[in-house]
């Protein structure tokens, strides 16, 4: 059986897990082509117009797989951590895809919901595994192996490798520049998709800027920092981002922050604002890139270079001139 995995959304977090699981059970895994203009245009054509760009891209990836595979894996992800949710669009994703795209092969839409009981994960594995084999032991074994591969993948990210490089089997030697380090924040599918982020990491590399991402900080640390929020953040990825932001704001590891946000993202609309408030209090330059299907690389490049220049001058002159167009951290917006 050929199973297609769209190269979008949580592919950037769970691909090693899915891949190992399916391969252990003897399925062929086909990944859609790398994100490109054509995939985005095709996806945007069928997707609801006010959806975010990663969602439109995902629809394109599904279309790309449509005639190549026997089934497409679009899990219904409701919750991936105890007591937390993720964006509601993930939960309705199989329905969205099914009713937007014409004539698709079978969609594997197993629900993953471990909000109340973590044991439900086993059920989800079984449900998917049953499609490929009737041997329950084999499924359990494959699930264990998949989770192990997932842990290795996370470990490599903790060691400072980017998911986008790892998933293409490019274990580049980390080059550590003397000087400026910039944190890149955002949802994994925006940060690590080199089409969406318009080759941001390459641009940073060319400018001699080190990049760090939230996945390079361990969950224990980000959990601890996120717990400082007066109300628990109930979106898993948002919690990770806020935890990372608070950690970086406390340390002096970074010189600036770039937040990649997709237009119309419900969770980013709050998270980016909260992050901005955190960094603003510490006087750390913070720069939001909002992307949608009309974003042009030229404009982005200009703005990125200006930001990079500003960081370099801040560092060199030690004059610490303000990144927020004012001289003191007091808010000018006050009524």
């Amino acid at each position: 059986m050929k199973i297609g995995i769209p190269r979008g959304l949580l592919y950037y977090l769970y691909f090693p897990l899915w891949d190992t699981f399916f391969k252990e059970l003897g399925a062929d895994v086909v990944i859609s082509a790398k994100s490109n203009k054509a995939i985005l245009t095709n996806g945007a054509k069928i997707c609801a117009s006010d959806a975010c760009i990663p969602l439109k891209l995902f629809h394109g990836h599904v279309l790309d797989l449509a005639n190549k595979v026997d089934a497409i894996f679009v899990p219904r992800l409701k919750s991936v951590a105890h007591g937390e949710y993720i964006c509601p669009k993930f939960c309705g994703l199989p329905d969205m895809v099914r009713y937007s795209a014409p004539s698709l092969p079978r969609i594997i839409d197993t629900e993953v919901n471990i909000r109340k009981k973590s044991g439900k994960l086993k059920q989800s594995f079984e449900e998917v595994g049953k499609l490929l084999t009737s041997d329950k032991k084999k499924i359990v074994h494959a699930a264990e192996k998949a989770l192990f591969q997932n842990a290795i993948f996370r470990g490599q990210m903790l060691n400072g490798y980017l998911a986008s490089d790892l998933l293409q089997n490019r274990m580049m030697k980390k080059q550590v520049f003397q000087g400026i380090t910039v944190a890149v924040l955002g949802h994994v599918y925006n940060v690590y998709d080199n089409f969406i982020n318009m080759n941001l990491f390459k641009k940073m590399y060319d400018c001699g800027i080190n990049a760090v991402t939230p996945e390079m900080i361990s969950d224990t640390v980000t959990d601890r920092y996120a717990a400082e929020m007066p109300k628990k953040i109930f979106w898993t990825f948002s919690r990770k981002l806020i935890g990372a932001a608070k950690y970086w704001a406390d340390s002096d590891e970074i010189d600036g922050v770039i937040y990649i946000m997709s237009f119309g993202c419900g969770i980013d609309s709050f998270t980016a604002d909260l992050c901005e408030r955190i960094f603003k209090k510490k006087g750390i330059p913070f720069y939001i890139i909002v992307i949608d299907e009309h974003s042009g690389e030229g404009g982005f490049e200009t703005r990125f270079e200006a930001f990079a220049d500003m960081l370099k001058r801040r560092k060199r002159n030690e004059s610490d001139f303000s990144a927020y167009g004012e001289h003191s951290p007091i808010d000018q917006n006050a009524l």
């Binding site: 997707c47 609801a48 006010d50 959806a51 219904r76 409701k78 007591g83 937390e84 949710y85 993720i86 964006c87 509601p88 669009k89 939960c91 309705g92 994703l93 329905d95 969205m96 009713y99 937007s100 629900e111 929020m229 007066p230 109300k231 628990k232 953040i233 109930f234 979106w235 946000m261 237009f263 119309g264 993202c265 419900g266 969770i267 980013d268 609309s269 709050f270 980016a272 604002d273 909260l274 408030r277 909002v290 808010d331 917006n333 006050a334 009524l335």
Partner: protein, 368 residues
Amino acid sequence: MKVTFPHMGNIHLLIKTLFDELDVDYVIPPKCSKRTLELGSKYTPEMACIPLKINMGNFLEGIERGADTIVITGGAGPCRFGYYAEMHRQILADLGKDVEIITIELNENGIGELIAKLRKLFPKKTLATIAKGFFDGFKAIKQTDALEQYSFYVRPRELQKGATDQIMKQFESEAMCAKGRDIFKAIKLAKDKLSEVKRDPDCRPLKVGIVGEIYTLIEPLTNMNIEPILGNMGIEVDRSLTISEWIKEHIIKGGLKLKKENDFVKAACPYIKTMIGGHAQETVGHTVLYAQKGFDGVVEIYPLTCMPEIVANSILPEVAKDFDIPVLTLVMDEITGEAGYRTRIDAFADMLYRRRENKRNELVLSGN
């Protein structure tokens, strides 16, 4: 302590009754207006949904009138509404406003915290008195919802145009002045007046159902008075969500962990299988139900970037096709203009009229 709270349609009638009975000092923010929205959008994140912006405007206008405490309800996701209170707290703190925000919610800290908050809000009151006040408030909003629904029925049938609008407007100001339980008198009076409105007995109005996200659906500023607009075109409106239903489902049944059995869940099942937060399931389910009940069309309203409704919105075309029912989608944000909105509603209504006529002619031709 002077308490203020956000607007959402007529919810202030519930809170007013409750606070009056429990002797809470409160200030009702002025009715949502363009100024509320402008004030709110100035300080909230650009990409946030419109209810957050209007709530912010309400608070700022409440603070202008002397409020120092804000009461809102909370939640635990996945919809953004659950994190509203925290966003408001941060924004107001950064603005230098010294206000306390009390979130009425049942969170992971258990029921003890909720009771402590209620005690703070209503000092020297027993839980029984609070429950009684809440019950009266709930009764007030339930009757108001029924009154509104009745006005939707009367409006397209009235012989003297504008009669219903006038009664409802009068009710609005009378309800605002009513103290405590006097509100029930105001409701009764308005209801009697509505039943005396002279109606056209031969009128067979078109029927349109309204679905979507609850806040934009209920708040007149965001739905731009869609019920009166459609009603005055001679269309009978049914609104799928009301405040009293929401309270019944989420606070009473949810709080007591009663089993919820709703027909819209069943109706939505072939299209959307689980609860995904917000009102996506309601939107899809009610559209199916309206089609089955023989409604002529459905209007869907939601705020720009609303996560659950985007899911519902991508499924609705399929529902519309399967059940042969026209759906008009209206997405609201702070720059939505009223003229464009009116044009689209007019066109939609025209289309519905012609559709009905064509259907009738076909019936005649086919001889059925």
